[in-house]
Structure formats: C-alpha cells, structure tokens
C-alpha cells in the first residue's frame, strides 16, 4: 500500500444559516458532509463535482482556511486541526494552495517579486538579496523571466499571473498543493500550458496535488485517481482510467456522458438527470442523489449508501451500482 500523506476522516463543515425568526429553528448549509478520503504521497488526486458540491470548501479545510464542524484531517499521521501558533505556521510550509482566479489572488499593490518572496519573508527563511535571488529562481522555474520581478499584477496576462501564484505556492517547498480550479479562469490554449507546468513541477519537486475542478477532461488529464463529489459527499472514487471507462455511480455516469466529444460523426448518448441540485441546507433523505436518479429504489430513499469498495481500488456510494 502506498504512503498516505493526508487522511481525511469523517470531515464535516456546516455553515450556519440564520434560522427562521418564528420557529427559531437553526439550519445549516452542509457544504462538506462526512467525507473520508486519503491522498497518497506523490499522486494527483482529482476532485470533481458541479458548483456548490463542496469541493472548494474541502480544499479550504485541508489548508486550514476553514475550521471543520467535525472530523479529522491527518497530515503525515498527525491531526492538524488542533494546530495553532507555531505548529500551524510550520504546517503552512508543508501545504500550499493555488487559487482559481488569478485576477484576485495577487495583491494589486505588490510586485511579482515581493509576492513570490513573501512566504520566505514570513517564515524567516531568507532575506534581502538572498530572497530576491530565490524569488527570481522561482520565477524562472514557472516560465517567467527575472526581469519581470518588479512588475505589478496588472502588467501580466491571466496565464502569467497564474504562474506567479504557482511560484508563490512553491516558495516554501511544500509537500502538498491544493489546486483549486487552477485553470478554470484561463482560456483553453493557456490551460494546457499551465497544466503541463504543474505536471513538470510535480516531478521536479515531488509534489502531491489535490486537484479540484469541475472540468472532467482536465481532471482526467491530470489525475492518478479521481473522487466525485455530490452535495458534500464523495460518491465515487477510483483510479482515473477506471472511473472514466467504467463509472459505477449513476451520477458519475451522467457526468461523463456529458463531456463533449469533438467528433460530429459520433453521437454521444447523453444520460440525463432530472431537476436541479437540491439545496445543501435540506438535502434529500437517504441517498442525496435519489430524486434525480434514473434507477432509484425504496432503499435509496431510506438509507444513506456507504462508500464501499466494489472492485479493487474502486469505491462507490450507491445501493444499485453498475
């Protein structure tokens, strides 16, 4: 068995919503609702799902931008949720994040060089000329030039800005990088460049990625394993090729059938789902997907399906998989 870097156990994040003023009943958005997930050292674990399914919240929980309602996150065997002060700061060196929107993830008033060098300053790793030199090296690593160090974010294109964000994430030499939709805001030709950069950096720095995206093709291209999320829960988890060739969960099947095929001769057989995603404040009882599922049964309405290993390495949370 491979080495587990991050082990997420029973993780929940509920955002409280203002309760009704009459009944006083409090409710909560169940953004992440009981997730168990292990990330192996050196792999890229893709996390897909439609918007609002909780994948970004899951990523933010792992970097401790949010505090979970319950559950555990073990990083190299240690629960990070109790960390504070110096221990949290030390943890920050191990786990970094790449953000979705390169236009908002860089401080408009700080030059590229000072943004990239800031982690080194904050952690007291290097200072002065040494830090500038390291920032310059990082810029070259991500395909920018050291001459661009003094420039400000508005002087860069979207793709270049994302490269700055990647360099900032690399500065502390982390073991794990949470990439939260790193290419969704970029146009397609730039997407490929950034994805290739991420892959080559992964080899060079022995990185582990938790790659969050709603784009199934991008995730397939990047990931060793893929987890599919629906309404705060993992519904299917398998090796990438396995999941795309033989999806077992009806939700995954519908998602994969919706990937556009660039071949007019091949009519794709779309599996349709009914209705919209239910509200995460009041998700359906039983299997959360049952109101939209083509093969739901009584069991689906009553019992929450557990995520079980149907085939080797292929986990599904469905009463009627296949």
């Amino acid at each position: 068995m491979a080495d587990i870097l991050v082990d997420i156990r029973g993780l929940r994040k509920h955002f409280p919503v203002k309760g009704s003023p009459i009944s006083g009943r409090k409710s909560a958005v169940k953004a992440v609702d009981g997730v168990d997930l292990a990330v192996y050292r050196g792999e890229t674990l893709g996390l897909v799902g439609e918007s609002g399914c909780g994948k970004t919240t899951l990523g933010r929980l792992v970097v401790r931008l949010e505090t979970p309602t319950s559950g555990e996150i073990l990083f190299e065997g240690e629960n990070i949720l109790g960390y504070g002060g110096e221990k949290l700061k030390a943890f920050r060196r191990e786990v970094q994040m790449i953000f979705q929107d390169p236009y908002s993830s860089l401080n408009p008033r700080r030059s590229a060089g000072s943004t990239i060098g800031e982690p080194l300053l904050v952690h007291g790793i290097s200072a002065g000329r040494e830090r500038d030199e390291e920032a310059a090296r990082l810029m070259e690593k991500v395909g920018l030039t050291r001459e661009q160090m003094g420039r400000y974010p508005h002087e860069f294109s979207g793709g270049q800005r994302q490269r700055i964000g990647i360099a900032r994430a690399l500065a502390l030499r982390p073991k794990l990088i949470i990439a939260d939709e790193p290419v969704s805001a970029l146009d397609v030709s730039i997407q490929a460049q950034i994805l290739n950069l991420l892959r080559s950096l992964q080899r060079e720095f022995e990185l582990t990625y938790l790659f969050i995206s709603h784009d199934l093709s991008v995730v397939e291209h990047m990931s060793d394993r893929v987890a599919v999320m629906y309404l705060g829960k993992i519904v299917e988890l398998a090796a990438s090729a396995d999941l795309y060739n033989r999806p077992l969960h009806p939700y995954t099947q519908a998602l994969i059938s919706a990937i556009p095929v660039a071949d007019p001769g091949r009519m794709s057989r779309r599996l349709r789902t009914r209705g919209d995603v239910p509200s995460p404040i009041d998700p359906p009882a039983g299997c959360a997907f049952h109101p939209r599922c083509s093969r739901s049964s009584d069991a689906c309405r009553d019992a929450v399906p557990a995520l079980v290993e149907r085939e080797k390495g292929h986990f599904v949370a469905c009463h009627l998989p296949g």
Binding site: L65, L88, S104, P108, G165
Partner: protein
C-alpha cells in the same frame, strides 16, 4: 484594479476641469501659507490707530480692520492657520478612523459590534454642539481646536475603511496571504490597508474642507483661534461688528472660506471620479 492605474488616473483627472480648478486653489493656498512671511505686504499684527477701517486702497488692497491692521496680510496668515487646522485635524480623524475601521472590518463579530455602536453613538451628537461642549471645558487654543475637530470627525472614515475591509478580506490574495502563514498584523497593514487608501484619500480631502469650515465657524463665535492670531473666522467676527461701515471686513474672508472649501470639495470629488469612473454620480 486590473488596468494601469496611475496613467489612467492622471488622464481622467486632467480632463476634469472642476478637479483641476480645485487643485489650483489648493496649490495656491499652500504657496500662500508657506511663503506668508515673505508675501504678506504688512505685519499682520501691526496696529495703526490712525488708519482704522480704511476701505480697500492701493496701500491696503483689502482695507484695514478696526485696529488699523492690514486685512490682506491677516488673511494670508489666516490661510496658514486654516491649512494647519484642516490637515492636522483630518490627520487625527484618519488615524482614529482607519484603525477602528480596520479592526471592525477585519475581526468582525463583537469587535465590529462594539466599534460600530460607538460610531453610532458619536454620530448621534450634532458634531458642532459636541465641539462647543468640549471647548467649554478646555482652553480654546489652536491645538485643542485641531484635536477636537479630529476627534469628532473620524466616524465616516471608520465606516468607509470597515466596508473596504469586509470586502477585501474575502479576496483571494488575502486568503493566499493566510495560507503562506502571514499573521493578522501583516495581512491588515501590508495586504488590506494599502488597497483601501484610495477611498480614504477622497474622504480626507473632503474632510479638510469640513475642518476648515468648522474652524472658521468656531473662530467666528470667538471660541476658536484667539485674537491677535489671525484667522478667517475671527476677521469675520470683526466684520460682523462693523458690517454697516466696513463691508470689506466681511466680504474678503467670507469669499476666501467659500473658495477654499469649494476647492477642496472639487478636488476630492475629482480624485474620486478619476480613481473609479463607475462611481461618478
């Protein structure tokens, strides 16, 4: 935020005639204040009892007052006082307002509740009467005036900075700063505050105008800058006593106050519109 800010700003600012006129007034006042000892034709305190309440003439362009002092010289020195009061009291207001606004917006929850309720309480008092009440207990020196005007004028800035903080702290670059391990102080002062300075600058420019007006009013009532120190406000007081025989004592300082306040307002609005043309009303 994503465009070359500086060049766009100056381009739009230079196209705005009112803003340019406003900045001309402000620059002129600066020059007058700084060079007052050399520019003013007479000693502002020189009493000449043989020439009291003389109308404007070639020797005394703006006439003389009830003690025979040259009104023009007194007004030039008065500009210095106005400017000093305007900037120092606005500086105090910005200092208090920015810090409280940053704390309220960044920490939220009970910190926000306490600070904002305090702001509401301060806003409940009619500002001018609050100042009058405080001055009643203090010596009406120019420094006390500045402190009081500043200490009663920070609430608007607090609200502005708080609102900016609330929206900026959710931005990804602030989240990114947290992920790299930056502490609260670093996030507040290095990442968020520089990004809300634009709106503070506008509020400050408009605040200077308000402070100058308040100082003039206090001096007019005799509880601001005390004679013999010249101030536009206390020249007006003398003008009020002699308005039937010496119109120049009321007209010129009145015009000076009007033009100055107007100038600062036009400058402030010009900066605001040039920073973000979408805000133009």
């Amino acid at each position: 935020m994503n465009r070359p800010m500086k060049t766009d700003f100056w381009y739009r600012f230079s196209k705005n005639r009112l803003a340019v006129a406003g900045s001309a007034v402000v620059v002129l006042l600066f020059v007058l204040s700084i060079f007052a000892p050399w520019i003013s034709p007479c000693d502002p305190a020189a009493i000449d009892l043989k020439n009291i309440l003389q109308p404007p003439s070639a020797k005394h362009w703006f006439g003389t007052d009830q003690l025979g002092r040259d009104v023009l010289s007194r007004m030039i020195w008065g500009a210095q006082i106005s400017l000093k009061v305007g900037f120092v009291s606005t500086g105090i207001a910005i200092f208090i307002g920015t810090i409280l606004g940053a704390l309220a917006g960044y920490y939220g929850r009970w910190v926000d509740a306490v600070i904002m309720r305090f702001v509401d309480i301060m806003l409940c008092f009619p500002a001018f009467f609050l100042i009058l009440a405080v001055i009643a207990f203090l010596e009406p020196s120019i420094w006390n005036i500045m402190i009081i005007i500043g200490a009663t004028g920070w609430m608007g800035i607090t609200r502005l900075v708080r609102a900016d903080f609330i929206s900026l702290k959710e931005r990804d670059f602030v989240q990114a700063a947290r992920v790299i391990g930056a502490g609260d102080a670093r996030i507040i002062f290095i990442h968020v505050l520089p990004n809300c300075m634009a709106s503070v600058l506008v509020a400050a420019t408009l605040g200077v105008a308000g402070a100058i007006l308040t100082e003039s009013a206090l001096s007019f009532l005799g509880i601001g800058v005390q004679p013999p120190t010249p101030s536009w406000g206390n020249i007006l007081t003398a003008g009020k006593d002699n308005i039937d025989i010496a119109w120049w004592l009321s007209l010129y300082p009145g015009l000076a106050i009007l033009v100055t306040v107007l100038g600062y307002n036009m400058l402030g609005e010009g900066i605001r519109d040039s920073l973000d043309p979408r805000l133009r009303s």
